[in-house]
Every structure is written in structure tokens, then in C-alpha cells.
């Protein structure tokens, strides 16, 4: 069953086409990564799925409903983390969770959410005293408190230090193991690689590649072979590394030489991403 189904989605702002006819599906229970540089159309897409923006064309179904027309009962099932933190500075962490939990018919207990997002030591402190990373975790907590089936995370770790990102990743993995479907936008490759079951790479409003992180790296076909020959570094790309290696090593052995610094590697997701997004 698809939690999200998008067909031919289009959105323009004035003359600028922000999203140019994209298709994708998110299966229930998976973490789907929408990857792309700033301005690729990630946030526009997510905000259409969240019901904030109307689309100009195409079909969108989120949990079986059109977000443009969906009402309160649909919102019960959806959690949202916006791109920037959106909290009342003068409530405590616990009060914020109780306030937002009160909007839902079957909320999670505030204490349980505090546990999940790891804000135990800050539970009774004002939001304005939290660090940036702690605020983001509370944003995540507010998205969880209604016990949603689907959560939208728009760049949940932008601006985090590496330690805080690891903690946030751990939290997102916990959510996934609870069965929550997650749509994650990010411009960090490693984040998508670490968290997402499947990734769509967005560039200038179009999906240029889609698949699991392993498929994306495997799918490019080319393998890179590096070695040193007569003191010069040589880099080759080949679609058939078995054959090419056999030729290279055979020729070297026939000459009674060794290929110095021989390296065979698949391109990383990062390299493919940079290639795809033209950065």
C-alpha cells in the first residue's frame, strides 16, 4: 500500500517552474529521501504534500486523500517538521508537547515523546533556552506527539554539528522501527544514505534518479580503476572491470612489473549526486 502517491506533479511561481511533472511513490513504513541542492523543488514538493500549497497540475494522494482538500481527520494522521524551527519560546518542552498533544484525539504521552527525542534533561526548561539542535528535536517531538502514520521532515538536521546529527539520525531510525512512514528532504548525501530506504534526486524540479542508495551507486555502471604507471597516476573508467583488470594486470605481469597503487572502486553516492545535480 502506498502512503504517498505522486503523478505528474507541477508547480510554478510566476514564470518559474519549481516542480516540473514529477512521479514517485512512498510505501507504508519506509523512509523516503528527497535529495537535491537548494532550489531544486524539495520544499515546494513537501509543502504540497503537507497541504500548505496548491499544485498547478498532476495528482497527489497522501494517506489516500488529496491534501489540498483534506481536513482535521487527515491531519490527525500526519506529522510535520518544517524547514525552520517553529516553537513558542515561552513554553517549556513538556508544556509544548502537552499543548500540541491536546490537538489530537489519540496523542502520545509527553513523557514518552521526551524520551524518544532525548530531551529528558531539558523537559521543564523554556524553549528559548534550548540549543538549535535541541529545538529541532522538539520540532520532531511535536510532529510525533499526535502519533502519526506519516511524518514529513524538511531538512531536519541542517546546521547541526556532527554529534547532534548522529543523535537525530538515531531518533529517526527509532521512528522507522515503530512503523512510521517518513518523507525526509535533505541536501546531505550521507544523511540519505544512512536513513533512507529509497531516494529520489531532484534537480531543477525534475527527478533525475530514483532508487535505493545501493541501486543509485550500482546503477551508474562505471567502475573506476587507478594505478601508477612509470610514475604517472592513471585513472580509467570502465563498464567491464573484470575484463579490463585482467588486461591491465596480465600486461603488467608479462612485462614483469607490478601496478603500483592499484585501486578499484565504485563511485560513491556523493560522486553520483554531484554528477546528477551538476554541482
Amino acid at each position: 500500500m502506498s502512503a504517498v502517491r505522486v503523478r505528474g506533479l507541477r508547480k510554478r511561481y510566476g514564470t518559474h517552474e519549481a516542480v516540473r511533472g514529477i512521479d514517485f511513490d512512498i510505501r507504508a513504513g519506509e523512509v523516503f529521501g528527497l535529495l537535491g541542492p537548494n532550489g531544486a523543488g524539495k520544499t515546494t514538493t513537501v509543502e504540497i504534500l503537507e497541504g500548505y500549497r496548491d499544485r498547478d497540475g498532476g495528482e497527489v494522494e497522501v494517506l489516500g486523500e488529496d491534501p489540498q482538500r483534506a481536513g482535521g481527520p487527515w491531519r490527525e494522521r500526519v506529522g510535520v517538521v518544517l524547514q525552520s524551527s517553529s516553537l513558542y519560546p515561552l513554553l517549556t518542552v513538556r508544556e509544548s508537547l502537552r499543548l500540541f498533544g491536546g490537538y489530537y484525539a489519540r496523542p502520545r504521552d509527553a513523557a514518552e515523546v521526551i524520551e524518544i527525542v532525548g530531551l529528558g534533561e531539558k523537559a521543564d526548561d523554556y524553549v528559548r533556552t534550548l540549543s538549535g539542535g535541541q529545538k529541532r528535536r522538539l520540532d520532531l517531538g511535536l510532529a510525533l506527539v499526535g502519533n502519526p502514520e506519516l511524518i514529513f521532515l524538511d531538512e531536519p538536521t541542517t546546521g547541526f554539528d556532527p554529534g547532534a546529527r548522529r543523535t537525530a539520525w538515531e531518533t529517526i531510525r527509532n521512528l522507522r522501527s515503530l512503523g512510521t512512514t517518513i518523507l525526509l528532504t535533505t541536501h546531505y548525501l550521507d544523511e540519505a544514505e544512512q536513513l533512507a530506504d529509497r531516494v529520489a534526486v531532484l534537480r531543477d524540479g525534475e527527478i533525475v534518479r530514483e532508487g535505493s542508495p545501493a541501486e543509485l551507486t550500482g546503477g551508474s555502471g562505471e567502475t573506476e580503476i587507478r594505478y601508477r604507471l612509470n610514475g604517472d597516476d592513471v585513472v580509467e573508467r570502465t563498464a567491464d572491470p573484470t575484463l579490463r583488470l585482467n588486461e591491465l594486470t596480465g600486461a603488467a605481469l608479462a612485462r614483469g612489473e607490478r601496478l603500483e597503487g592499484l585501486e578499484v572502486r565504485r563511485p560513491t553516492l556523493e560522486e553520483i549526486y554531484l554528477e546528477l545535480t551538476g554541482e
Binding site: 500548505y52 481527520p73 518544517l82 517553529s86 513558542y88 513554553l91 500540541f100
Partner: protein
């Protein structure tokens, strides 16, 4: 209904915890009443045929409605809009009207408490009698609160950023409060100021309050003053419907 009261409680907590805002919108009219009451409370204002403290009591309630229901409400809604809080609330099952309704109800509660304190200070410090027509007074206060709150929501559409909100809104409501004769009688003003005062809603709200409090008038006694206040409220409402947004305006 449960959601509405849940939200009103939260809004009350948020209001009183924001000490700076509570000072400017809730306490300042009370403090001005004490200060100006001490300065000219015992003088007789010939042109108004009342004692200074009597005049000032109704004036400070007028200043209070502008500070609380107009300026305070508008500034806090702009700040919340720009902080993304309104946008975030929209993603929850809380109906938008329940949220706005709760914010307004909470604001009205604050204003009514403020008016009650001003009346009690008048009674015990400046020996101004408690008004006889309390129901008429309540009706006038609610009319003013609703209309000024509508203008407060209406002006949010004209303010683009959090940083600018206090500057823009104070620039509107402070001159209005002075020109409308909440501190001094406009009857001594030069002609052009009187002309401006005559079209401002606060002038007419203050007159309605004064008539009920000092002259035992009925709420409905001055239809044209009610009409001016209501007209401004309607303008505010149209502005709110057209200009109020849940999404941040800057960025």
C-alpha cells in the same frame, strides 16, 4: 469546544509569561492612570464638565483597548507568523477558527481584567464611583474589544517582518491614543487635530465609555459613535480576511 478551552488556557499562559508585552499592553495603561491621576486627577476639566480623574479613568480604558486588543494582539500575531508558529499550528487538527477564536478570547479576558483594575483604582485611589450601568459598560467594552481586535488582525497584513512589527504598530496606535483624547481632552486641540480625532475609532469608543461611566448613558444612546467604531471594526475585518496569513511573509 474542548479544543477551544485547551487553547485559551495556553494563550493565557503565553500572554502572562511574555513580561515585556504584558507590561506594555496590560500594565502601562494602569501605570499611566496612576501617574496622570496624581498629576491632574483633582483638577476640574471645564470643557468636559468633569474632574480629571473621572475623565482619565474612561480614557485609560480606551488607551487599554488600543494597547491590548489592537497593538498587543497585532504584534504577537506578526511575531508568531514570522516565527512559523502559525504555519505549524495549521498542520495540526486544531481548526483555524478555533485557534483565532481562542487568541481573541484570551485577549478579551486580559482587557476586561485591565478595565476592572482601572475601575477599582479609580474607586479606591481617586474616589470615582463604580459605574451604575455595568451591563451597558460591558457591552461598550466588548464592542470596542471586538472592533480593535479586528483592526489588530487587519494590520498584520501590512507588516512584513517581526522586527518591524513594534515600530509600525506603535507608530499607529500611540499617536492615535493621544489624538483621540484618552490622556487630554481633545476640546482644547487645534482644528485640524480635532478633525482627525473625529474620524478615529478610539475617540468614539472613549466617548461611549465616558458617557456610560460618567453620565449613566445607555449603551445604545449614541448610535453614531457606535457606527464609527463598528465601521472601523468592519474595515479591520476586511483587512484581516484579505491580509492575514498563516505563512511567514519575510524570507
Amino acid at each position: 469546544m474542548r479544543l477551544f478551552f485547551h487553547e485559551v488556557r495556553a494563550q493565557q499562559r503565553l500572554f502572562w509569561r511574555n513580561r515585556e508585552a504584558a507590561f506594555f499592553t496590560f500594565f502601562l495603561p494602569v501605570i499611566f492612570f496612576l501617574i496622570f491621576g496624581a498629576v491632574y486627577g483633582n483638577d476640574y476639566i471645564k470643557k468636559e464638565h468633569v474632574k480629571g480623574s473621572h475623565f482619565l479613568e474612561a480614557g485609560m480604558i480606551g488607551y487599554g483597548v488600543a494597547a491590548t486588543c489592537f497593538a498587543g494582539l497585532a504584534i504577537s500575531m506578526v511575531v508568531r507568523r514570522e516565527a512559523g508558529i502559525l504555519k505549524r499550528v495549521r498542520a495540526t487538527p486544531l481548526p483555524p477558527l478555533a485557534y483565532v477564536g481562542a487568541v481573541l478570547a484570551s485577549t478579551f479576558v486580559v482587557f476586561l481584567i485591565e478595565a476592572a483594575i482601572i475601575i477599582l483604582i479609580g474607586r479606591f485611589l481617586f474616589s470615582v464611583g463604580v459605574p451604575n450601568r455595568l451591563l451597558s459598560l460591558l457591552a461598550v467594552l466588548v464592542l470596542g474589544a471586538v472592533c480593535f481586535a479586528a483592526m489588530g488582525l487587519g494590520i498584520t497584513g501590512l507588516v512584513r517582518s517581526s522586527e518591524g512589527s513594534s515600530a509600525v504598530i506603535n507608530a499607529v496606535y500611540l499617536p492615535m491614543a493621544i489624538i483621540s483624547g484618552t490622556f487630554f481632552t481633545p476640546k482644547n486641540y487645534p482644528g485640524f487635530l480635532k478633525a482627525i480625532a473625529n474620524v478615529l475609532p478610539l475617540t468614539h469608543f472613549t466617548k461611549l465609555t465616558r458617557d456610560v461611566m460618567l453620565h449613566d448613558a445607555h449603551f445604545w444612546a449614541d448610535g453614531s459613535a457606535i457606527a464609527v467604531v463598528a465601521l472601523w471594526g468592519a474595515i479591520g475585518l476586511v483587512g484581516a480576511i484579505r491580509g492575514f496569513t498563516w505563512q511567514p511573509r519575510s524570507a
